[in-house]
């Protein structure tokens, strides 16, 4: 299969504390990979390391064969690897439309533009001149994903997208991810909501205490109650 993103032996520190220990990952084109684990296990740190917000002390990240380990976050984004952060980070005093246009800063060509985004997220079209800060939590989650899509990324990293959303909103999110898959996006997801993760992912990687400790396709994972108990406390 075609590999798009490879991380080898990442070791990341937060100040003096060692967070990631030799994390290696492989992501195939057009798959949805779910990174699972408890709080503080290192999911967000992994994501931040991949998009160069945090610099690993050692290890290497290859994206489409290009070494991006030493690049800056904006360079990584321009290459097509984009993070949708856990805390959403909408620009509150910019309008919805401006928030979306900010996403186009990668200057990448692709299927995503304002029209396409509005078709995918009709809510945003109705609210396009509202300020980002006036949207509800669910709408903000939509906006933050849409904003990243505007940059036509090849790979999207979604950090805990279901967090703080009402069940009905999580369903909408599920539908959205399935639609994204259908247009050929590669998605890496981090989740604690097992039910939700199982409903959208192709493959699962579990991280615990900063190391990868389990990896399998989704069907195997679904059956493995032991693993779920041991690392996810479900």
């Amino acid at each position: 299969m075609d590999t798009v993103l490879v991380a080898e032996g990442l070791n990341t520190f937060y100040g003096k504390s060692h967070i990631l220990f030799d994390v290696s990952l492989k992501v195939n084109r057009q798959e949805t990979l779910c990174l699972m684990g408890r709080n503080g296990a290192g999911k967000s740190t992994t994501f931040k390391t991949l998009v160069a917000v945090l610099k690993p002390r050692s290890g290497k990240i290859l994206f489409n064969g290009i070494d991006i380990t030493k690049k800056k976050p904006y360079e990584v984004a321009r290459l097509g690897l984009s993070l949708v952060p856990e805390d959403r980070r909408i620009f509150p005093t910019l309008t919805v439309k401006e928030n979306l246009l900010m996403g186009a800063s990668t200057h990448r060509k692709g299927i995503w533009n304002l029209d396409m985004v509005f078709e995918f997220f009709p809510v945003l079209k109705d609210y396009q001149s509202r300020l980002g800060g006036n949207l509800s939590g669910g709408e903000q989650q939509m906006l933050t994903i849409a904003r990243t899509l505007m940059g036509n990324p090849e790979v999207i990293l979604l950090d805990e997208p279901s967090e703080g959303l009402s069940p009905v909103m999580v369903s909408t999110l599920k539908d959205l991810i399935i639609r994204l898959k259908s247009v050929g996006s590669t998605i890496i997801l981090s989740e604690q909501n097992v039910k939700f993760a199982q409903s959208v992912s192709d493959r699962v990687v579990i991280i615990d205490k900063g190391s990868i400790c389990y990896e399998s396709d989704i069907e195997t994972f679904k059956k493995n109650e032991e693993i779920k108990k041991a690392y996810l406390a479900v």
Binding site: V53, P73, Y74, A77, T93, L94, E98, M102, T106, G151
Partner: protein, 288 residues
């Protein structure tokens, strides 16, 4: 009646020069959350660079341009080498004050070292010499020029900030630098550019003020407090606010001089006290 009109117009040109000086401070202060204590030093640099250029190529307009570019470049370089290191650090705000204050000490002394302590002067271009006379009211052409430039800068800044992609990126950067970077914008460059533009505005103001004022070491210090008042009065980061603030200070002073000349020099502080007590976030704040 005529006296009120002429006093009003006088106040207007004071206000516009104030606004011109404060506009750069307003830009970085409000939009990029950087407090540049050294803004007055870039104003001073602007005056001296214009003086230097004009003494080499006797053309006022070239002087204006080199002053703007020169002050902007120096600002951008200082931001790139020093200010950048503070972003995201603990107590970033207080240390910005300390750092930009050290810029004042260094730049002002450098000016004295390079150009000496004596006063320099820039002559207005011929086309701006003289005044328009309406009845008994004099309006110096140069003041009209300043008013036009001031309005042009306010309009341009409003347009760029609110209607262009670059302005949008700047506004977004002021809110969340990390996120802007994640979206593929070279934020570091944006900050350098914003700082450079702001100091360029300071330089432009210095060059434009030079034909009306004394160009001497230490002249930068005096403008900083006035600019601060203007910026805060209108509400942070709001160009229209800064313009309104400048107008209020200019006009209140103009009429204060007429009616209570003894106390005129304290009026700007009195105005700020009154405004802040009744509108604690400045005049153009959105009440939350």
């Amino acid at each position: 009646m005529e006296i009120y009109i002429s006093q009003f117009i006088g106040g207007l040109s004071v206000a516009m020069l104030l606004f011109l000086v404060a506009s750069g401070l307003s830009l970085i202060f409000g939009v990029a959350n950087i407090f540049n204590f050294a803004h007055g030093s870039f104003y001073l640099l602007g005056s001296y660079i214009a003086y230097q250029t004009i003494s080499l190529f006797p053309n006022f307009w070239i002087g204006l341009i080199t002053a703007t570019i020169g002050a902007g470049l120096i600002g951008a370089i200082l931001e790139f080498i020093f200010l950048k290191r503070l972003y995201g650090r603990v107590n970033e705000g207080p240390f910005q004050i300390l750092l930009t204050y050290s810029f004042i000490l260094i730049l002002d002394d450098a000016v004295k070292f390079i150009w000496g302590p004596e006063y320099k002067t820039i002559v207005k271009p011929d086309i701006l010499e003289g005044s328009f006379v309406i009845g008994s009211i004099f309006i110096p052409k140069y003041n009209v020029f300043i008013i036009i430039v001031g309005i042009a800068i306010a309009l341009l800044a409003w347009y760029v900030l609110n209607k262009t992609k670059a302005g949008m990126i700047v506004r977004a950067s002021s809110l969340d630098r990390t996120m802007v970077g994640l979206l593929g914008v070279n934020v570091s460059m944006v900050m350098t550019a914003v700082f450079g533009i702001a100091t360029a505005l300071g330089g432009l103001a210095g060059a434009m003020a030079a034909p009306l004022r004394t160009v001497t070491p230490g002249a930068g210090i005096e403008v900083i407090i006035d600019s601060l008042i203007v910026v805060v009065l209108g509400g942070l980061g709001n160009f229209w606010g800064a313009l309104l603030g400048a107008l209020i200070i200019g006009e209140v002073n103009a009429f204060g001089i007429l009616w209570i000349p003894q106390w005129a020099s304290l009026l700007s502080f009195a105005i700020m006290i009154i405004v802040l007590i009744f509108k604690p976030q400045g005049l153009f704040s959105k009440s939350r």
